[in-house]
């Protein structure tokens, strides 16, 4: 079917777009769905759309826009191009080309490309809660008019068996399904109220998870629990992002004040886990940004910080939280100064702020932050690094400094290695390029012959340190195979010295090398065999 309706060229063209628009991990997950065979009913619509039903935690309807992949949609809560769309793509692509090859290609280092989608929270809140056919709908005493306190009381009773279940089954899925299920309570509520309810359910479960880890896992976060926490936070962010904040503030004041109180109480948590702090910051940043509320909280925090009687860890926590209000008051430097001292804060801690700056078009502010956080960015995990760099490049462009980008990539080493190397090479800054390869101890085998050839043509002498270092490394291996390799390489070196009219230097090199390793009998033998006229 697809074979007749589409062409190979089309498939390839879509693939190229996918590579640009879709995050690596999403492509990977899409491939897994595809290869698990959960993509059904794939068909072409209006010659432009590719639709299919994908069986995930439930069935989602993905719709891939083959002309502009960015415009593809899916019924899942993920706000960007999701794995279901990716799976749909693979379903089609596999008809024409090897999808495995495509996957491999997508796993190669790619340059991040900016698109506004990157800035939007990954999860969007859909008011029409998914129909939960297979699970009994939650019966609750709550109505749209129930207070926040009643919500929380209900949450407590609703989850009274949760820890036991988490202990007996997979903790993360139990917690997530508890969260998912409880959302149905507000499914029929007015949208604003329901959104607020989701926020509280999310917050409740996040706290529950923290409590669980603390009680049952001695505060040790297993990976699946980390992912669960992050997923909750993602959803919290999405919900807050897509919520009608002014409406909430206007029409649900009581609930908002209760939320404020709850948020303030979050401070009571221990700072060993950062997740509640993310939630705390998010709520202040997006929901509770009334100056008088903030001042109140700042006052409390300052008291905490300046109170001699409090434990150091408490004060540290106070500082950490206080810095957030510095940012809110655009005192970025003060905030960064506090945070950068705290070595446990990694890039993801700053990332939500930075995305938010980008969303607001505060490009310079964003650039200031990257400039301040270079080493964190340089050591960030790939996904986060790519995100930051994509935005950073956009920011540079926005402020008219695109041209500097290539050179500036250097500050984001080692994460930026591939892009920076590519930049240096394109700019024909070969010495820098070689230096980079040597600094990163890139094995010679990993370096493309074509590139070495081009450098050799441009300025062969640049390769001396590179080759000689490799010769040294081979000799240090102390075995004959390596010696033979070394001799082979030395012959290349000889050719270059010869071409550079430095025969005398070459001779001195061989002589000294022979003298240096005069105890290595096997190497000496190979040297003699190499006919270097010693």
């Amino acid at each position: 079917m697809l074979q007749r309706e589409l062409t190979r060229e089309q498939a390839i063209q879509v693939g190229e777009q996918i590579l640009i628009a879709v995050e690596g991990h999403i492509i990977e997950r899409g491939y897994t769905y595809f290869s698990d065979g959960v993509v059904f009913n794939t068909r072409v619509e209006q010659g432009q759309y590719l639709t299919s039903d994908v069986q995930g935690s439930e069935v989602y309807h993905a719709r891939l826009d083959m002309e502009t992949v960015q415009n593809s949609t899916c019924t899942c809560p993920y706000s960007r191009i999701c794995k279901h769309i990716a799976a749909t793509f693979f379903q089609m692509y596999s008809v024409f080309e090897n999808p495995r090859t495509f996957l491999t290609r997508s796993q190669q280092p790619r340059r991040a490309t900016f698109s506004p989608h990157l800035l939007i929270p990954a999860y969007k809140y859909s008011h029409t809660a998914p129909a939960q056919q297979d699970t009994a709908s939650v019966s609750s005493p709550l109505t749209a008019n129930s207070s926040v306190k009643e919500w929380w009381a209900f949450f407590e009773s609703w989850t009274r068996n949760l820890f036991a279940a988490m202990e007996s089954y997979r903790a993360s899925s139990e917690l997530l399904s508890s969260y998912q299920n409880v959302l149905s309570v507000a499914a029929s509520w007015p949208k604003d109220r329901a959104q607020l309810f989701v926020i509280h359910a999310n917050l409740f479960h996040l706290m529950k998870l923290t409590q669980y880890v603390k009680t049952y896992r001695q505060s040790y976060w297993f990976l699946d629990l980390v992912q669960t926490a992050e997923r909750l936070l993602d959803q919290l962010e999405g919900t807050l992002y897509f919520a009608d904040i002014p409406a909430l503030l206007t029409h649900h004041q009581d609930a908002i004040v209760d939320t404020l109180q709850l948020t303030k109480q979050l401070k009571e948590n221990e700072a060993t886990s950062l997740y509640w702090i993310f939630a705390y910051q998010m709520l202040w940043w997006m929901l509770l940004k009334k100056p008088e509320w903030m001042q109140e909280e700042i006052l409390v925090l300052d008291q905490l910080i300046n109170n001699e009687d409090r434990a150091a860890a408490e004060k540290e926590k106070g500082l950490l939280l206080r810095a957030h209000f510095h940012v809110m008051e655009k005192e970025d430097e003060a905030a960064l100064q506090i945070w950068k001292r705290m070595s446990r804060l990694n890039l993801s801690f700053y990332l939500s702020y930075m995305k938010s700056f980008a969303r607001n078009g505060e490009w310079q502010r964003f650039l200031d932050w990257t400039a301040s956080l270079t080493s964190l960015i340089g050591q960030a995990e790939t996904q986060q690094y790519r995100l930051v760099i994509a935005i950073w490049q956009e920011a540079m462009q926005q402020v008219g400094r695109s041209a500097e980008c290539g050179a500036k990539l250097k500050q984001f080493l080692p994460s930026s290695y591939h892009e920076y190397a590519a930049y240096l090479y394109e700019e024909r800054q070969f010495q820098q390029w070689i230096d980079l390869q040597m600094s990163f101890q890139v094995p010679m085998a990993d370096i493309s012959v074509v590139q070495v050839k081009e450098i050799e043509e441009a300025d062969p002498t640049l390769l001396f340190p590179f080759y000689l270092r490799e010769v040294n490394r081979l000799i240090a291996e102390r075995n004959r195979t390596a010696y033979k390799e070394a001799i082979k390489l030395m012959k290349k070196v000889r050719t270059i010295y010869n071409r550079a009219n430095q025969d005398a230097r070459w001779e001195r090199y061989v002589e000294q090398l022979s003298a240096k390793h005069n105890r290595l009998r096997a190497f000496q033998e190979e040297l003699r065999r190499g006919n270097f006229n010693l």
Binding site: P414, D435, M438, F440, V442, P465, L468, R469, Y509
Partner: protein, 952 residues
């Protein structure tokens, strides 16, 4: 891959000025020095990117200059992160300052360092936080670049030639020199004075204490312009009257300063009060000497120019020599039996350049305490030191009971080395005093005669000699007799066949003519030639009473002396010289003669030492091939002839044998030859002075291929050897090689030799050598001529004898080591006797190379066949000379059989190459082969197939 390694760098300044750079990774583990060097010097071309920097276990070692450039602008990898320790940062900081200082050129030579005797530099304006070690660092950096081969090094060289004052350091620097002046003298600071102050010493003309010191000002620009400052002008006021350019007058103070400096330096002005004293311009002899020897140098170093008399340099350079002037009338009178141990009278002379002083004269002059003397128109310098040296030398010499003729000859013939290289010798003078021997006329004459045989008085042929001697033979016997007069042992080393025997017989006749000797002479020779001697003596000197001390019925013990009574010559063998040592030792022989003297070549054998212990008035050695022997063998013969002349064997070995064998030092070879030459007479057949009229000798090589059988056996033998060699110990290996060598050579002769077969009739078909030999013999016999056949192997001899006899050439003689003397004599007599019919006489004589190689006279044969080859051509030639010698009437044909492609051919090639060499030093035997490497052996032994007989 994405781990950026941060290196934590640390630096340390080591005691020797080097810097140790170490690195740790972020975990605190020490970075491997090679990797560290590769990283920190990744772009440093000069060290080949860190490859050739010095390293120790901890890190990289940098010279001061290298460290400087490293700290200032590291050529390290740029995409790494480095954090540095405090010392490292400090070094970086200081390095920056040094670089700055150097760039500004604000450094100067450090006078205080120079004074301490080392090159040093200092910073002119020190930055505030410049640490102490910074000075040293900077100094070392400058020094390093100055010593280097680069641009700075070259400039420095130029500088040194321009300003030689830079060379002066430490004690050489005058303590009176001021830093300012020094900087001027080395050209660092410009000297604006238009003139230089100069002093000239003018020698005393009439009175020895009338030396003049004159003061000049020299134009700096034009050194030819000199202005004399009169003695009375040397004052501050002198400026008015001094005849100098007007614009110099303002610098008069400078002149006064210089003058004050001079006064400080000149010791006779030191005592007088400063500035008060006048500048003395008249010097005593003693002062003049001090001025010439020491003050002048100090003055120059202090920047004053000094003009010395032209002769001074010569006088200064004269090396005093001690001369021993022989005064005894050696050689003048008819003194006999002087011997090399004869003491010489002589007087010592001290030679100072052209002036010679006797001991007394010298002592007399020393007493005058004049260091500078004009003797016979020449200035000489006499120092108490010299006198001490002289006395020391004389004392040493007198303690050794004076000099013997041996010493004189050695000093005369090989002078320099004696003094320098034999510190344990009796001529161990203070090395600074060269000793020379000055011969008197007679001794000079004697040595001249010894060195040139022609100048020896020729004696007439004794009437008692039957026959006619050739001229060179008369010369030879006269020479022997001449040396006899001085008791000097003689070695007659004429070529084979030149008639050493008759020369010795003539000598004996001369001895007898010059008055009856109290005791007989003794001739020691190999057993094989006793008969020969007997016959020759009877033939040429029937008047001589000859006694053979040989055989079981020889007279022993108390019967010995009576037995030799009345004899002119006693003949015995080498073996008996040792066995009957006691009997032979009872007599002080008139002359002992060793025939084939190489028999005592090994000095350590009992035989050799027994022979050397025998007493005699005169000693003679006859040998055809003295130089064939190794040098230590030469020593053995000469120690017999003139005991002690070549020193002990140990000394001789150390001084000559080892160096010559090691380096082929031609000079040393010449020296040995000079030393032995007076006692050695060697004429060769090719010598144009010797009109031998010997018939020609035609040599041809007979190349024969191996048979297939031989080829197969040959290869098996080699294969076997190499197989076994792998497991063999060095000792076994040697044995194995020698055995194989013998096997190979034998099977080249004939396969039956190694297969140990019973004889068959088809022998000729199994060896082309044998086949060819039979053809040759057939030719020879058809012409009614005779031949000698030499082989190394008894079995081959036997085989040949058997085959030739079977072929009807009998009787076929075979002389080998086992042949009894009587049998030998008989065989030789028959073979030589032309009167006998062929079937009694024999036409073919087979000889084993070893037993028949020397001493025999077989001139009836004019064909010589060498069936197999020996390494040394001299041995073969000797064998050939059995036929090619005096008495030979016809041309001699020599055939050397060589098996193609085999070891024999290789031997032949080697001999061709070595022929010239062997005339100097000859490697003998086969033992050297055992030291070859397996590869070389393979090359030597392997059969070259292109020559293998393919007929089957």
């Amino acid at each position: 891959m994405n781990t950026v390694t941060t290196f934590v760098l640390d630096g340390e300044l080591l005691a020797d000025g080097q810097f140790l750079i170490t690195g740790k990774d972020t975990q605190g583990a020490v970075v491997d020095p090679e990797e560290l060097a590769g990283t920190l010097f990744a772009w440093d071309e000069s060290s080949y990117y860190g490859t050739f920097l010095d390293k120790n276990e901890q890190g990289v070692l940098l010279s001061p200059a290298k460290a400087l450039s490293f700290f200032v602008s590291p050529q390290w990898l740029l995409h790494r992160t480095y954090s540095s320790s405090t010392p490292f940062e400090q070094f970086t900081h200081v390095a920056g300052m040094i670089r700055e200082t150097l760039a500004q050129g604000s450094i100067a030579p450090d006078f205080s360092s120079w004074k301490k005797g080392q090159i040093g530099w200092k910073v002119m304006q020190t930055p505030d936080d410049f640490p102490e070690y910074g000075h040293r660092w900077l100094s070392l950096v400058v020094e390093e670049s100055v010593q280097g081969t680069g641009e700075i090094g070259r400039k420095w060289e130029q500088l040194l030639t321009q300003y030689p004052a830079l060379y002066a350091m430490g004690a050489e620097l005058s303590p009176h020199l001021l830093e300012q002046e020094w900087l001027q003298s080395i050209g660092w600071l410009p000297d604006t004075t238009p003139f230089r102050t100069c002093l000239q010493i003018v020698e005393a003309e009439e009175h020895p204490n009338d030396w003049q010191l004159q003061v000049y000002l020299q134009n700096r620009e034009e050194p030819d312009q000199l202005f004399l400052i009169e003695p009375h002008q040397l004052t501050a006021e002198g400026v008015a009257t001094a005849r100098i350019p007007a614009d110099w007058r303002e610098h008069w103070n400078r002149f006064r300063t210089d003058l004050a400096k001079c006064k400080e330096i000149l010791p006779w002005q030191k005592d007088t009060q400063k500035n008060q004293s006048r500048f003395l311009t008249q010097l005593t002899n003693e002062q003049a000497w001090i001025f010439l020897t020491s003050s002048s140098l100090q003055l120059v170093q202090a920047g004053i120019h000094v003009f010395l008399p032209a002769w001074w340099e010569q006088v200064r350079r004269v090396k005093p020599k001690l001369k021993a002037k022989i005064t005894s009338s050696v050689g003048a009178s008819r003194q006999s039996f002087l011997g090399v141990s004869q003491l010489m009278d002589f007087e010592w002379k001290l030679a100072l350049g052209p002036v010679e002083l006797s001991e007394e004269e010298f002592e007399e002059l020393i007493k005058q305490k004049q260091r500078l003397l004009k003797i016979r128109g020449h200035w000489v310098q006499l120092t108490p030191d010299l006198f001490l040296q002289l006395q020391e030398a004389l004392k040493k010499n007198q303690a050794k009971n004076g000099m013997t003729l041996r010493d004189v000859m050695r000093m005369h013939l090989a002078p320099t080395v004696e003094v320098e290289e034999l510190p344990d010798d009796e001529f161990d003078f203070d090395t600074s005093l060269t000793v020379e021997v000055q011969l008197n006329q007679h001794l000079q004459e004697l040595l001249n005669q010894l060195q040139e045989t022609k100048r020896v008085p020729i004696m007439e042929q004794p009437s008692t000699f039957h026959g006619t001697l050739r001229n060179y033979q008369l010369e030879g016997s006269s020479w022997l007799f001449f040396l006899r007069r001085f008791g000097l042992g003689a070695c007659l080393a004429d070529d084979m066949g030149l008639g050493k025997t008759v020369q010795f017989i003539t000598y004996l006749l001369h001895v007898k003519q010059h008055g009856p000797a109290s005791t007989p002479s003794l001739l020691i020779c190999p057993t094989s030639v006793i008969g020969n001697w007997q016959k020759e003596l009877k033939r040429f000197a029937p008047s001589l009473q000859v006694m053979i001390h040989y055989g079981n019925d020889r007279q022993k013990k108390e019967a010995f002396l009576p037995a030799i009574k009345g004899a002119d010559l006693v003949i015995t063998s080498y073996a008996l010289s040792h066995l009957d040592e006691q009997e032979l030792g009872m007599v002080t022989w008139d002359t002992i003669c060793l025939d084939e003297a190489q028999n005592i070549k090994n000095a350590y054998t009992k035989q050799a030492s027994a022979v050397r212990d025998l007493k005699a008035w005169h000693r003679i050695a006859l040998t055809g091939t003295p130089i064939e022997n190794r040098l230590s063998e030469l020593w053995s013969i000469f120690d017999f002839l003139n005991p002690g002349y070549l020193g002990s064997l140990g000394e001789f070995t150390q001084r000559f044998v080892h160096p010559i064998e090691r380096d082929q030092d031609q000079q040393l070879i010449n020296q040995v030859q000079r030393l032995i030459q007076p006692f050695l007479l060697r004429r060769v057949k090719t010598d144009p002075n010797i009109q031998l009229d010997l018939p020609d000798k035609n040599e041809s090589k007979e190349y024969v291929p191996l048979t297939t059988e031989q080829g197969a056996l040959y290869e098996t033998a080699i294969q076997d050897m190499f197989d076994r060699m792998e497991k063999a110990s060095p000792m076994e290996r040697r044995g194995l090689i020698l055995t194989t060598l013998t096997r190979l050579k034998q099977l080249c002769d004939h396969p039956a030799l190694i297969l140990k077969e019973i004889s068959t009739t088809d022998e000729a078909s199994r060896s082309h050598k044998l086949e060819r030999l039979l053809e040759l013999v057939e030719d020879i016999r058809q012409k009614k001529e005779r031949c000698l056949i030499f082989t190394q192997y008894i079995e081959m001899g036997n085989l040949l004898q058997r085959v030739l006899t079977r072929e009807g050439y009998g009787p076929v003689y075979f002389l080998n080591g086992a042949t009894k003397k009587e049998k030998r004599d008989e065989m030789i007599t028959r073979f030589q006797d032309a009167t006998l019919p062929d079937h009694e006489r024999g036409a073919i004589f087979i000889l084993s190379l070893r037993a028949g190689g020397t001493g025999l006279n077989l001139t009836e044969a004019n064909h010589v066949i060498h069936v197999d080859r020996w390494w040394n051509p001299a041995v073969e030639n000797q064998a050939t000379d059995r036929a090619h010698r005096i008495g030979q009437q016809r041309n001699v044909h020599v055939y050397k059989f060589i098996s193609l492609g085999t070891i024999e051919e290789r031997i032949d090639e080697m001999m061709e190459r070595k022929l010239s060499l062997s005339q100097q030093i000859v490697g003998t035997g086969e033992s050297w082969i055992t030291e070859l490497s397996t590869e070389e052996l393979r090359d030597l032994f392997t059969l070259r197939h292109d020559w293998l007989d393919t007929k089957g």
